[in-house]
Symmetry: C2
Subunit: 74 residues, 2 copies
């Protein structure tokens, strides 16, 4: 069985939480102080974000960083 990359799982967790907050990628990017295309890339798991970026995103998603990774590993 192929294992799914953690960056991909993190992207899925970001997308799911963004949807549950009912906000667009653009709005999430605005709240996190990141670029919209960067948020789009993160949701698709094609970027390798740093702790600083993940912290900004988690805050904008109203989750702790540990909770975000916990969801990414479920």
């Amino acid at each position: 069985m192929a294992t799914i990359d953690l960056k991909t799982l993190l992207g899925m967790a970001i997308k799911t939480q963004r949807a549950s907050l009912g906000i667009s990628q653009e709005e999430l990017a605005h709240r996190a102080g990141l670029h919209r295309t960067y948020v789009s890339d993160l949701e698709r798991g094609v970027r390798n974000p740093s702790v600083d970026s993940i912290e900004k995103l988690a805050r904008a998603l109203e989750l702790s960083v540990s909770k975000l990774f916990e969801r990414a590993s479920e």
Copy 2:
């Protein structure tokens, strides 16, 4: 009250877990496939590691990424 940077807290959590495993920075670096000076920098919170690097470190520390961040936020 000044808030402590997440990178600093993460570094402390890495150092604490490394100590509890009884291994050196060099051994941790070897297990994680990272450079020893990079591990030293991470423990001091002066680097902004990516998801890929954190995943390698967490595995070498025998912790999940979410658990490592949970310890960093305690």
